[in-house]
């Protein structure tokens, strides 16, 4: 099997954008090629587009050929869209990884994005009822995620003594990390008091505990090691392994609200494939859709003991200088969350961290990890990246 590298990546400005879905995809592709001028759209033989709400918010299916046409790529190995809601981006990456590894494709652009702000705001919120099991959870009004994550937070607080302050510390850290990230949705720092006194969304979740709705797109280029050596002069960053797991979809079948079984499975699979353990990871981008999510992810990714996630953030272990800096580019809480683009944004940040050219650099980082959660905490996707020492 061939080795696979990530050789370029870029994102457009994320936020409330005066632009269409296809505008955002073009901007992201341009940013991706600007990151590595040695590779052009003529070098790309395949495209994988990641988008979850393209039908609901842009009335557009069969998206891959449309994006390829707009960004000047004429795919001949692979031309498809993948969808796994909030983890569509990581799904695109592991699909391209497998295809390149197996020799089906050589140089693939994985590009994801969403246009979520609509002429009338209610429509995107209403569409969220299609993101969970529509017939059983959506019809209960469980489409919008804050209620589910508030339920998780309440149980984690009760079981492990996690506090609202510890949750707020996650948003303070990620807002601080996002300060130097001009493409993120927010560049305003918040302090603990602001986070604690913010408007209640669903108790105990307050405004800054929740990621926003975001328009945006991001793109990366994956290549076989042989092609990568021709197409980049930056340090080679390899995909070392991945795991993707699901054990339930409907809320009633969630085996455990505070230990995410599928996350542990996906992580174990990825660590095993990479030949690494959690202690090897120097930097991670995890799915901080809500502050409580990041706390549970520290635990279930193995960065700390179960139940110690609140202590982990409080002690600064997920910050620069700590055990594993997490969400070094600001995460979902600061960058925003255009579903299909998020996993790609995470991959870009890990690529930069391992190349050594990140905006907020973790010194000497050699191994990095991304984690995407999707749906009613229903699927987890983990990818591990590494640079040769």
């Amino acid at each position: 099997m061939r080795k696979v590298c990530i050789i370029a990546g870029g994102m457009c400005k994320w936020g409330v954008r005066n632009a269409s879905q296809r505008d955002l995809f073009q901007e992201a592709a341009r940013a991706c090629f600007l990151d590595n001028p040695n590779v052009t759209n003529k070098d790309v033989d395949g495209i994988i587009v990641s988008s979850a709400y393209t039908e609901r918010c842009s009335f557009q299916t069969h998206l891959a050929p449309l994006v390829a046409e707009h960004v000047g790529i004429k795919p001949r190995s692979v031309c498809m869209r993948v969808e796994l809601l909030c983890a569509s981006g990581s799904s695109g990456i592991i699909t391209a990884y497998g295809l390149i590894k197996a020799g089906v494709a050589d140089v693939v652009m994985v590009i994801g994005g969403e246009k979520l702000y609509m002429p009338q705001k209610w429509e995107v919120f209403y569409s969220e009822m299609a993101s969970v099991d529509h017939d059983w959870d959506g019809a209960q009004g469980l489409g919008l995620p804050p209620a589910a994550f508030a339920m998780v937070a309440k149980q984690h607080m009760k079981k492990y003594g996690t506090t609202e302050e510890q949750m707020a510390m996650v948003s303070v850290k990620n807002r601080r990390n996002g300060l130097n990230n001009p493409n993120g949705q927010f560049q305003e720092p918040i302090d603990l008091a602001t986070a604690m006194n913010a408007k209640v969304i669903v108790r105990p979740m307050k405004l800054y505990d929740c990621c926003p709705i975001t328009d945006g797109a991001a793109a990366v280029i994956l290549a076989s090691e042989e092609k990568a050596k021709q197409l980049t002069d930056k340090p080679l960053v390899y995909i070392m392994g991945s795991g993707q797991a699901s054990v339930h979809n409907m809320s009633a079948n969630m085996p455990d609200w505070t230990t995410w079984v599928a996350l542990k499975t996906a992580a174990q699979q990825a660590y095993k494939a990479a030949g690494l353990t959690p202690s090897h990871i120097h930097v991670a981008q995890t799915h901080d859709c809500f502050t409580i999510s990041e706390i549970i992810e520290y635990e279930d990714l193995g960065f700390c003991e179960k139940g110690e996630g609140g202590r982990f953030i409080q002690d600064g272990q997920s910050d620069f200088g700590g055990k594993v800096p997490v969400n070094t580019d600001g995460g979902l809480l600061s960058c925003g969350h255009p579903f299909g683009a998020t996993g790609i944004r995470q991959a870009i940040e890990i690529m930069r961290q391992l190349r050594g050219d990140a905006v907020r650099q973790v010194e000497g980082a050699q191994f990095g990890l991304t984690h995407n959660l999707s749906g009613f905490i229903a699927a987890h996707t983990v990818v591990i990246y590494g640079r040769e020492a």
Binding site: Y126, M129, G138, G141, L142, L144, A147, V200, R203
Partner: protein, 161 residues
Amino acid sequence: MQSMDLFQGKYIATMDLYPQQAPEFNRIYPFYQHLKEGRFTTTKCKKCGARPFPPRVVCPECMSDELEWVDLPTEGTVLVVTEEEVGVPLGFETPLIHALVDLDGQLRLFTRIVNAKMGELKEGDRVKLHVFKVPPVPMEKGREVVEVERYYYAFEPVKAS
């Protein structure tokens, strides 16, 4: 508005909050018929005994298609409550209350709670099935349009008598 004129009041299934319940569109339609009778049911596999929720047409354990309808408890105990004060989706009113409910050891359901005020519902409270009518589907049958009556469920507090 122009878009309203375009659709001429037509029914749009892709914007419908509730499931299709007509036999023409759903093989588990008996669930909704049972609901109308005040029963909360699911399917049980006649071969291996698996009793998943939601109901199926094929057993997810052994792939048998010999399934039968069985009743689940219509009362349960509240484990955790959440109350949404803002940002409730269209079709729901504030506060939107949800609870994780233990249906007497047979199922843990994360369900909407109706007929309760903000701050009223507590852990350990008993709740019971509440069935209500939802908008019918105007379904084309040949050249006619027939109205398919529909029901859905939530839970509500069992008031202390």
